[in-house]
Symmetry: C2
Subunit: 292 residues, 2 copies
């Protein structure tokens, strides 16, 4: 069994991105600039955005953080988005989700210029991904593809079972793995809450992606010997042993499953660190070729 070390891979990719930024600057090209809009003071969102800003700093990107009050008017948020759409200095930006309940998230997502939509959530980018056209890929699926690539895990002709059909992980990943591409060319079965005999599908899978958000859902008897298991789950489970009072738990019962696997991602330290890489890659792509 080989452990897929997302932290290591992410660090290596960051170093490559930093080098690319240095090369671009030396060549008279622009420093990539990512902006983030953060509405309100949700603890999780604060942490995510702080990490994204930190990542930017590490790889040599410029970053701008726009903070708006929890009670911000939709019009004000839309006008901030328009400002970033029009600002040639900003290559890409994100609006950190979730948004307060009085704001229609889909409306905001669709107001972002698809060419600056580095989260890859705009329907134009999702549509291009579905059609196999070059686009900004959503971060988590893109991170998983990079891990498969890094560990040279063969996907062509393999049977991949994706558990969970969310718009940001399961569905796009099932599409990406089915495409005529590398990684890709998998035979993908997308499973979800209505799937009957999930165990049967999993036991026949070469690759299992668990992305349903149920701690330790995938048990040892659901996995065949030699499978590749990718664990996307990150649920906070209360823990007396941890200083924070909780521990991050994946969708895979790691202790039972790991011994049977050819490759497996741990939680934390597997898919998680790669998710942050996606945003950097998309921002690098968005600023590509732009002169100062």
């Amino acid at each position: 069994m080989e452990l897929i070390d997302g932290k290591k891979v992410a660090a290596e990719i960051k170093a490559t991105i930093k080098k690319e930024v240095d090369d671009r600057l030396a060549g008279g090209f622009k420093r990539p600039h990512l902006a983030a809009i953060l509405v309100g003071n949700d603890g999780g969102s604060e942490t995510y955005v702080a990490n994204k800003v930190k990542d930017c700093h590490e790889v040599g990107f410029e970053s701008t953080l726009i903070r708006l009050d929890e009670s911000v008017a939709v019009e004000t948020l839309l006008s901030e988005v328009t400002g970033l759409n029009q600002n040639p200095e900003i290559d890409g930006f994100i609006v950190q989700l979730p948004l307060p309940r009085h704001i229609n998230e889909q409306l905001i997502i669709e107001s972002i210029d698809p060419k600056k939509d580095v989260d890859g959530f705009h329907p134009v980018n999702i549509g291009k991904m579905t059609l196999g056209i070059d686009s900004f890929l959503p971060a988590t699926p893109a991170g998983i593809l990079r891990l498969l690539e890094y560990y040279q895990i063969e996907t062509a002709g393999k049977h991949c079972v994706v558990i969970g059909r969310s718009n940001i992980v399961g569905t796009p990943l099932s599409i990406l793995l089915s495409r005529k591409n590398s990684p890709g060319n998998c035979t993908v079965t997308l499973c979800h809450s209505h799937t009957q005999n999930l165990k049967g599908y999993c036991r026949e899978a070469d690759i299992i992606v668990a992305a349903l958000g149920k701690p330790e859902f995938l048990k040892g008897d659901m996995v065949r010997e030699g499978a590749v298991v990718i664990d996307v789950g990150t649920t906070r489970v209360p823990s007396a042993e941890s200083k924070t009072g909780y521990r991050l738990t994946g969708d895979v019962a790691f202790a039972e499953v790991a011994p049977k696997c050819a490759f497996i991602t741990p939680v934390p330290g597997g898919v998680g660190p790669m998710t942050r890489i996606g945003l950097l890659h998309n921002t690098l792509k968005a600023s590509s070729g732009k002169k100062i």
Copy 2:
């Protein structure tokens, strides 16, 4: 075994659409107006467009056909598209594919206003479909959903094997059948040229959609008793017995497969007639709520 009669269902739906048009006109609403751009003189395209115009006439839509020469400049085609985008009289329009080789099809598709893209090929519409947001669905997948609905074929929790991952049939249908919807909630396995042991997947499927374009590919021994088989193939195979010199052949070896099925679509007369309904439905939707 019950034969799925696409011709009958299409005729019934057309009658419903005609009634809806009459009601709208009586209520002071606008008559739906579909335009089609036909470039060159390809025989297949001529027939398809002529049928679409005929359909419009039957259901009471207005139709406009714009013919452009095979050698048309991209700029001229783009300016026709812009004209239709801006013309408030036109509710929806299509650019008949394929286009001559000197024209980038994707560029043209993306130049169509998504709100008038009644073929459902624009990335915005494909993206919304993928995200489960209301949009114009591509015609063939939408037609198949309607057949499943009409014959009250249960899809929730069923295993559906889709053979073929094209952008206009296999891929979108696999997404639509996976969604939290009715029809939908299937466990879908998307198979294609890289799939190993295709027979194994098919034999376990409750529903098989053959959309690979290989005449009589799906044989009797690939289908289990009681399966539902949807045949999307329509290949012209030379035939001495036909006046036209060819006959339309599906992807299913009908004589072998049909006796095992709970439901099966014939070719011709199954999915084909429903494909033309999709365009009418989308045009009806595009013109919805518009006053004269």
